[in-house]
């Protein structure tokens, strides 16, 4: 409001107010209203129906599937993110800048394309299909496919957050730790990790939120088998297509709550990082 308080021509005082009003109105209309609507619709037929909807075996399975996917994808991506950031920040090797670009690819590619690529690679008619069939490995239309695509889509989150900090820290602190007798693991845990811990958590939260919410890529590779390969976002769509609006909104409310939780943790982390 400081910009408003100084006196000036009426028009120049009006302009900021107009912009602020517009921003608030748009946020309410586009972001907040739908959120409220989700919960309003989810509870439209009362608590009991809401609980029944969530406890429905198919919904429960979808929640479980999404949870297990996140539980596998996030730790793998944390490990991958640290390893990639470390390699880029600490070493000079041929293809280094290529790796930096490659890490960012999932951000610029539509997830559905990733899904199709995996399908062409691992599907029954795919490149590795016959070999996988021979060994009775089901990748597509099963949990492995879902995990692979989710991993692809969320790959950049941790590496991107951690890399700038590692580059800023440089390698001297790590070298100092080594000359003082620290093993590789001790060096990482006591010197490298404290430096990147908040960024790492931040990246992990973003990664989790995305892993839980991923729709496009997963929808291609999961096959949408009800009660088997339906993750929570896919399940929402399914219920909606079944004209079970209350059920769809109940399931959606779980996703929304998770997203809001991630948002809260994220802003706490942002605060801690200063």
């Amino acid at each position: 409001m400081q910009t408003v308080s100084h006196s000036g021509p009426v028009a120049s005082r009006l302009m900021p107010r107009l912009l602020i009003g517009l921003a608030v109105a748009l946020t309410l209309l586009i972001v907040v209203a739908p959120l409220f609507y989700i919960f309003a619709r989810a509870f439209a037929e009362g608590w009991r129906v809401y609980a029944d909807n969530l406890l429905h075996p198919v919904t429960r399975h979808a929640i479980w599937l999404t949870t297990i996917t996140a539980l596998i994808v996030v730790p793998v991506n944390i490990a991958f993110g640290i390893a990639a950031a470390w390699a880029v920040a600490r070493f000079r090797f041929p293809g280094r800048s290529l790796l930096v670009t490659a890490i960012e690819i999932p951000f610029s590619i539509s997830p559905i394309i990733a899904g199709i690529c995996y399908l062409l690679l691992y599907g029954r008619q795919g490149l590795l299909g016959p070999w996988l069939m021979e060994h009775e490995l089901q990748v597509m239309f099963a949990l492995p496919g879902i995990i692979l695509v989710t991993m692809f889509v969320t790959a950049p989150f941790v590496a991107r957050e951690v890399l700038p900090l590692m580059q800023a820290q440089g390698s001297e602190q790590e070298q100092a730790a080594v000359t003082l007798g620290a093993s590789g693991w001790q060096m990482f845990r006591r010197v490298t990790l404290p430096n990147i811990q908040w960024a790492l958590l931040y990246g992990a939260v973003l990664c989790t939120a995305r892993a839980v919410g991923e729709f496009g890529g997963v929808s291609v590779v999961s096959g949408n088998i009800r009660g088997q390969t339906n993750t929570l976002p896919l399940h929402v769509e399914l219920l909606f297509n079944d004209l079970n609006a209350t059920g769809a909104f109940a399931a959606a409310s779980v996703l929304t709550l998770l997203a809001l939780l991630a948002l809260v943790v994220k802003s706490i982390l942002e605060h801690r990082r200063g």
């Binding site: 080594v178 000359t179 003082l180 620290a182 001790q186």
Partner: protein
């Protein structure tokens, strides 16, 4: 611990950084690596520490092959130019770090760690800073903490990379004296890197002058000062003036030059170059000399005079203001070098033509 370095070679992406280093550092000695930026000082230090690996050559300490050991196994103390303190640990924990890592069996018990840290804090005169974080310290204080952290593991060898590089002049002088004391108290073999001559000569038992990946000369302050082994060292020591002269029976000769105060050289007759430092030149009025006083300025203690001869050569001379003769701009003066280095003309500026590192200065003088 005696450090023996033999024919060490190292290059980064085909750029030769160390081109054959031979150096022996005696147990308990304090040695300075002195050289211009990019001469490979840090690289040599890092190889001794085990943070870099040479392409060829040997490194042994007390007869043991150190190239077969990892950095962790070498037990060296390394002090980085920019300290590299751990920002998330208090001073106390920074210093204790080396005692709390490594194999569990090798770590001292907690009370002993605390006692050792307290001892070091006292030795380094930073007891009052023990519970601060590095970001709350001044540069000089950080330097002390970095040294304390390195000393905590009782290193066999202490390596310091430009330990005072980032500090201002007064603190540098203080810390220099204090480092000497610490060195004497701990008795560890110490090598430190600097590009400050004064620092190297004041602090070290011996100074190793490096230029472009080679050792140009090893010696005490006086030896290097009086008998630079190569044109490179002469220039590095501040001999900014190079005069073409002729050698006759070991004496240098040139127009306007009175070489009576220079000692005779055991060198063949012929053309040569005389390297002079501005502070080792006296001037005497001599109308027959080609050297004309072109410019002069005083900083209170010293008059800097710039002379020119007819051929475009320029020569600076620093004269003590109180004892210098009265100087007149435009007048002719005879140069009387108080000391200087002479090299045969064939010895050009390229370091590849300079003296091999193992040859001592006497061979040239």
């Amino acid at each position: 611990m005696t450090i023996a370095i033999t024919s060490l070679i190292k290059s980064f992406d085909r750029t030769a950084v160390l081109r054959g280093i031979d150096l022996t550092v005696e147990a308990g000695e304090l040695v300075a690596l002195l050289g211009p930026s990019g001469s490979g000082k840090t690289t040599l230090l890092k190889i001794i520490a085990g943070l870099e690996w040479p392409d060829a050559g040997g490194l042994s300490v007390d007869g043991r092959d150190w190239l077969a050991l990892t950095a962790q196994e070498r037990r060296i103390g390394f002090v980085f130019q920019h300290y590299a303190l751990f920002p998330h640990m208090k001073v106390r924990d920074n210093i204790a770090f080396g005692l709390t890592v490594g194999p569990r069996a090798a770590r001292p018990p907690k009370p002993e760690i605390a006692a050792r840290v307290d001892d070091l804090l006292a030795l380094l005169q930073i007891t009052h800073l023990a519970d601060r974080f590095p970001s709350q310290l001044s540069g000089g204080q950080r330097q002390r903490v970095a040294l304390g952290r390195a000393l905590a593991i009782r290193p066999a060898v202490l390596l310091l990379d430009e330990p005072f590089g980032a500090l201002d002049a007064a603190i540098r002088r203080d810390l220099r004296r204090w480092l000497r004391e610490v060195h004497e108290a701990t008795g560890s073999t110490t090598i430190f890197v600097t590009h400050d001559q004064e620092e190297a000569f004041e602090l070290a038992d011996r100074v190793v002058v490096m230029g472009e990946g080679r050792i140009e000369q090893i010696g005490t302050a006086d030896q290097i000062h009086d008998h630079p082994a190569s044109p490179f060292v002469a220039r590095f020591m501040g001999a900014v003036a190079e005069l073409p002269v002729a050698l006759h029976a070991g004496r240098v000769d040139a127009a306007g030059l009175d070489a009576s105060r220079l000692e005779r050289r055991a060198m063949a007759d012929g053309p040569a170059r005389l390297f002079l430092r501005p502070d080792a030149i006296a001037l005497e009025p001599d109308a027959a000399s080609p050297w004309i006083l072109h410019q002069m300025a005083s900083n209170g203690a010293v008059i800097r005079a710039v002379l020119r001869d007819g051929t475009g050569l320029e020569l600076p001379a620093d004269l003590p203001r109180h004892s210098a003769p009265k100087l007149v701009k435009g007048a002719a003066y005879r140069l009387q070098p108080l000391s200087g280095a002479v090299f045969a003309s064939g010895l050009g500026p390229a370091p590849s033509e300079a003296a091999p590192s193992s040859i001592l200065q006497e061979k040239h003088a």
